[in-house]
Amino acid sequence: MHKSVKTPLIAFAALLLFGGLLNFGVNAYIQLIVLFVIINSILAMSLNLVNGYTGQFSLGHAGFMAIGAYTSAYASTQFSFFSESFGFIGIFVTTITGGLLASAAGFLVGLPSLRLKGDYLAIVTLGFGEIIRVTLLNMEAVGGPRGISGIPSFPNFFFSFSYSCFWALICFFFIWRLIRSSHGRGFLSVREDEIAAEAMGINTTKTKVQAFVLSSFFAGVAGALFAHVTNFISPSSFTFLMSVNAVIMVVLGGMGSLSGSIAAAFFITLMPEALRSLQEITGVDLRMVIYSLLLILIMILRPQGLFGDKELPDIWRKYVRKSA
């Protein structure tokens, strides 16, 4: 077996085993949360490509996710070919189409980013994200404010789990290897110093657009998964808050750390659930208040995020070396 597929396959096998356990061991509520963790991981890792590795501040990730979600949902509810035989091929085709349309939108958003930096870019991407949402809101073909309901589910939990893990692994290994190649180093150079990067022969314009296109592809995929897991989407599923959520995961995990993004996806998905019991005691829903307060505190106390730009193995090695 070629070594390029060996590690991903081993990882996939291990995850499948874990999925098998979850299939019988836990209730549907926990299963759903597990799926959200995986989807959020894809979202965070893909945004890390733009925000963490390329240093471009995007605040419109929910828009790309929405495009992927709507594409896949629309295709699988409208075309009888897909809904009748929503087998593996159908699912695969709609997911990829969702990703591709999202990356086309990423291309359009990437273009203005060539002239804008920092705060301005953040605001423009925020604007694009909102425009996508407002457009969906006014499109009767996709249900307008009512959204799309009755989106076909995956056959069972084990299928949903494996399929989501499949994409999460593709996303992880794609970005992991990209960053360790010359192309990926080009991304990093743009983050570090654009003027120096240009002077060293890096086409920074092309690099930035590439980052947006690749990142939004995976956001679109995450959106498609989201649509089929929840069976219902509407423009209010993809608000500014969703984009903020994605940014928070990237920053909390550490800009430029994939394992950090995954860890943060766990944390951010599980925290509101864990805080539910607090609501029972106090009687008011303080989850979002705590969530926003936490965000401020993290920025002040640990601005580099949990992992900084290190990956889990680096941190492990450092810890082992220190204790030895």
Binding site: P112, G118, V251, L295, I296, M299, P303
Partner: protein
């Protein structure tokens, strides 16, 4: 023609409210080079302050100029304190951090105020008390000049004149201009940057408080998320005028207010909010420095 004049009047009145809020964005950006996302929520707190003060003191049953003044002053005080606290507790520790962190903190503060507002005030909209008696001052064959529009214009004009005086004629205003044009040189020359920043937050928050009461008079429905849209539009107005530029913010806000009224009047109100984003994106792509923005070359 009559419609057109009516739209102009409404547009200017709306624009002057945008201007009050836009000034807060632009001043903070000028001094600290950051987008204070929480500004819109300070504005929201201003509206709720006025609401509760009017309720508790019983002022809501006696509309008039003194009521207006009292509500203005109390909202300005509360908002200034809030602005100061935000700056002290959330932004000051990040003075030397990367821009991204500051921006996320600002978003965090904004979310914190919105969610806390929902917990404390409740998520349902409340009816803003009548601050002044509403009447039509003049009626030119269907064309109405309402007292609320005159009040809005009058109050915002007075606020802007005072602001202009502070910035142009006082010592602290001079310090503000110095920090805005070059913070490090200003601090080397003995300007106390922290004090200038605090003062900027006080002024910006006070203007937002004034804006919130004027909006309450015009559209008497307030809720904890009321700042989101208007804040965004005011921000677009500031960018349109050239962020950091005070006359720019006023000009941008008037353009925003007028064009919004025209879109609602002649096209459709569903495009009302899309317009702001549209203007923003066009401006940033073709003239990122805005109408009055300064041209700057990056040092290499």
């Amino acid at each position: 023609m009559q419609d057109f004049v009516q739209h102009i009047i409404n547009g200017i009145s709306l624009g002057s409210i945008y201007a009050l809020i836009a000034l807060g964005y632009t001043m903070v950006y000028g001094i600290m080079k950051m987008i204070n996302f929480a500004h819109a929520d300070v504005y929201m707190v201003g509206a709720f302050t006025a609401y509760y003060v009017a309720k508790w003191t019983g002022l809501e049953s006696s509309p008039g100029v003194s009521t207006l003044l009292l509500l203005l002053v109390s909202a300005m005080i509360i908002c200034s304190v809030l602005g100061l606290l935000i700056e002290r507790l959330a932004y000051r520790p990040l003075r030397k951090s990367p821009k991204l962190n500051v921006l996320i903190t600002a978003i965090g503060v904004s979310l914190f105020l919105e969610f806390s507002g929902q917990v404390i005030f409740g998520a349902d909209p409340k009816v803003f008390p009548e601050v002044m008696n509403q009447f039509v001052i003049a009626n030119f064959g269907g064309l109405e000049l309402k007292s609320s529009d005159v009040t809005v214009l009058g109050v915002s004009l007075i606020a802007m004149v005072i602001l202009n005086f502070i910035i142009q004629k006082t010592k602290i205003g001079r310090a503000m201009r110095a920090v805005s044009s070059n913070a490090s040189v200003a601090s080397m020359l003995g300007v106390n940057t922290d004090r200038v920043i605090s003062f900027t937050f006080i002024v910006g928050s006070s203007l937002a408080a004034i804006g919130s009461i004027l909006v309450g008079m015009k559209y008497p429905k307030i809720d904890p998320l009321m700042g989101m849209m208007i804040g965004l539009k005011a921000f677009v107005a500031a960018v349109l005028g050239g962020i950091g530029s005070i006359p720019g913010a006023v000009a941008g806000a008037l353009i925003m207010g007028l064009s919004e009224e025209m879109v609602v009047g002649y096209l459709s109100s569903t495009y009302r909010d899309a317009l702001a984003f549209g203007i923003l994106i066009v401006i940033l792509i073709f003239k990122p420095t805005g109408l009055f923005g300064k041209y700057s070359v990056e040092k290499v």
